[in-house]
């Protein structure tokens, strides 16, 4: 569930992640947040060019992001599976309840479990009408 627009953003575990490039692959407009590890590690701000240590650190960060993403995907898959299973179980329970309810009406069904010749005649009349390409009256 996403938060409604305009509501205050709640802090999440992702807030501690390094800020990467923005959408479209360009540099992040907001830049690194002051005080974050990104501000220290980002090679773009080094006057002497890319720092190998910083690059290695960025690689480690990416790996941890990928790991977190994989974790998140696994969690989502598990949650979807759980949801499907619960939906199935609920459908089964509803169907079973409906079946028990139907069996509770057994006396009515047993009374009805016989040929109603009036219905048979109406059906055959409708079939004959269909044969003659005339729509039945009813």
């Amino acid at each position: 569930m996403s938060a409604p627009n305009g509501s205050a953003r709640q802090p999440s575990e992702f807030d501690s992640l390094p800020a990467g490039p923005g959408p479209g692959g360009g540099p992040d407009e907001s830049g690194p947040r002051p005080g974050s590890s990104d501000a220290r590690a980002d090679g773009r701000h080094s006057p002497a060019g890319p720092n190998p240590a910083a690059t290695a650190h960025a690689g480690t960060d990416e790996a941890s992001i990928l790991e977190l993403l994989a974790d998140a995907e696994r969690t989502v898959a598990l949650l979807r599976e759980e949801l499907t299973e619960r939906q199935r179980a609920r459908a089964r329970a509803e169907r079973t309840a409906a079946q028990h309810a139907e069996v509770d009406r057994l006396a009515e069904h047993l009374a009805n479990a016989q040929v109603h010749w009036g219905h048979v005649r109406s059906f055959l009349e409708a079939a004959v009408a269909e044969l003659q390409h005339q729509p039945p009256d009813r």
């Binding site: 079946q99 009406r105 006396a107 009805n112 479990a113 040929v115 109603h116």
Partner: protein, 414 residues
Amino acid sequence: MSAAPAAPPRRPVPAAAEASTTTPAPPLRSPLHFLPLHGRRLRAAEWITVALGIYVLITAVTLIGSGFKLAAGQSAGELFQFASNPFVGLMIGLLATALTQSSSTTTSITVGMVAGGLPIEIAIPIMLGANIGTTMTSTLVSLGMARDRETFRRAFGAATVHDMYNLLSVAIFLPLELMFGVLRRSSEWLTAQTAGSDGGMIAGVFTGLGEGVRALTAPGTAGLTYLVSPLPDVAAGIVLVLLGVVGILAVINLIGRLLKVLMVGRAQQVLHAAIGRGPLSGIASGTLMTVMVQSSTTTTSLAVPLAGSGTFTLRQIYPFTIGANIGTTLTALIAAFAFTGAEAGAALQAAFVHVLYNVFCAVLIFGLPLLRPLPVLGATWLAGLAVKSKLYVAAWVLGVFIIIPVTLIMATVW
């Protein structure tokens, strides 16, 4: 200009309730409701009537056996020569059951005739045909749900899954029987174990039961035989057979209606217990339900509204109808207790044919994953056609249950 009063908004009706409104259900009423009895006394009267009904059933089967023997003498086989073609025997069983709407009637009459001398080879196809014929009733019941397309698709599918299963059963077992005598041999063996002189304790129990029943029913049979004794043998035999057939028709219907009322609570317990427990439970509940109401027609017709409402799927209904086939074989077994001696052996063999056939079919068709889905697929296909055009339904009902059997029988007789 006054505005017409607005119609109240229609409350959404669940599918199950919608289906139930397509056919108004009369209340389940005891056939003895006219008696000035209530509660326990009415129940006692109903149980006594059931017991009397079973007595009449057994007596009627005995009458058929005696009458058939009297009328046909030693030439029962010749009399039924026209049915020696197994396909004609099959069609006779099918047609007789479709007309009486009771496979129990056909099998009980056949048991009586086998005891009276009808060769078992002729009786077997008749019993196989009875299985197919009994499915017509549920198909006709489903026509009452034709107002709503989806309800009708489900209801007709539930009815015809039994047709498909029984047609597949015959397609497998009739050739097997003709080639190897599977049912004749296995029923012969089972009869030897239960009624033969070397059958041990089981045979002793069966023989004891048979003799007890025979002692009870003998006076009725002897009385009626005495009444027709002034007639020539053939005429007396025919009268006895007719009396037996009428008796069976009358009591099987009465017993079924009484048991519906008496056993509805137990049947509910069985069905509640079977829900959600898989296909084997479905077969068991169908068997028990049919044993309780003594009518496979009732069980399979019951399946139609259950499926039509959409609450039970066709795959859940399918094992239930297989169970109905097995449960209905009890009637022929009861009928077989009408005889003693060599007649008892023949009658018991005929009853065992019916039992074994239905058990073998269930094991083979439901046991083999290749065969198991075929009836459901066939019924789904036919139900799809049925909602497209009523002509398919009319062609199926009239063709399978009336036109083909009558044509085959006529072509053979003339």
